[in-house]
């Protein structure tokens, strides 16, 4: 890891965690209030996601016009375009767990700092699930390409 990569990962991580906490995405009840369209709907999450996507959609093309990243490392981007069964299965399964609990990976990890017990139960289970998912993704021959995605 070069000095620039250290600075980049630090600054990016700080902004990400601050943003998740500021937008209250670390509160699962806030996330569930968005997902509960038939309940007392809280549209906040749409603005979080929308705000973030506007920034990436506007600035990613500018970044990717450069020959390489500032640290000199080449851009590490997923190259696949096909929609395959693991993508569908994975996304569907993720959504069920997300809807059930109100936690997705970033907010769950960031919520560890709140001092509540819930994320300390959720995060180990999530890591166990990821470990199992890794085994599932590596089965057979189609696995090498899948490791290179997001």
């Amino acid at each position: 890891m070069t000095r620039l990569e250290l600075i980049g990962a630090t600054a990016s991580g700080l902004l990400f965690g601050f943003g998740l906490s500021l937008s209250q995405m670390v509160e699962p009840q806030k996330v569930q209030a968005f997902l509960d369209l038939a309940g007392d709907w809280d549209p906040s999450l749409a603005l979080v996601m929308g705000g973030a996507v506007v920034v990436t959609a506007l600035l990613f093309p500018w970044v990717l016009r450069r020959p390489a990243s500032l640290s000199g490392a080449s851009f590490s981007l997923p190259t696949r375009q096909d929609i395959d069964a693991p993508l569908v299965l994975g996304a569907a399964t993720f959504g069920i767990g997300w809807g059930l609990t109100g936690y997705c990976p970033g907010p769950a990890l960031s919520a560890l700092t709140l001092g509540f017990w819930e994320p300390w139960v959720f995060v180990p289970a999530m890591l166990l699930g990821a470990w199992a998912g890794g085994g599932y993704a590596r089965r057979g021959t189609a696995s090498a390409a899948q490791l290179a995605d997001v």
């Binding site: 990569e5 038939a38 973030a52 506007v54 640290s71 997923p78 569908v88 299965l89 059930l100």
Partner: protein, 142 residues
Amino acid sequence: MTEFTPVTALAGGLLIGASAVLLLWMNGRIAGISGIVFRLLPSDATDRPWRWVFLLAMLAGALAHQSLPGVDYAAREGYPPLLLVIGGLLVGFGTRVGNGCTSGHGVCGLGRRSKRSLFATVVFMSTAVITTYAVRHLWVLA
């Protein structure tokens, strides 16, 4: 339930977007949290140092915000621990197999105009909404 908070939601979203742009610009990496963190696991380990730095900085960023005056979060009461375990397993398995979560497919993938990410985002949003409906309005929990 919870109050609509447009200002902090949008501000937080802009910061998350800026974080993703910064990581791509400086490190050439996609700010997908499941991808960053799950490759710290022994079975999937690749390029660990920067992933640790990002993860710890993310926790520090959250902590920094929570230490500001007037910021106070309420714990959710009475949520069944078993459901947290089941949900955690599903989220971990699903984001690993589907190669991304809300940040990797949602924030970054949509910004890259990736067809796979758009598809994944529509799928996980849909199953999350359906699950929430089932749990809250059919099964009647919480």
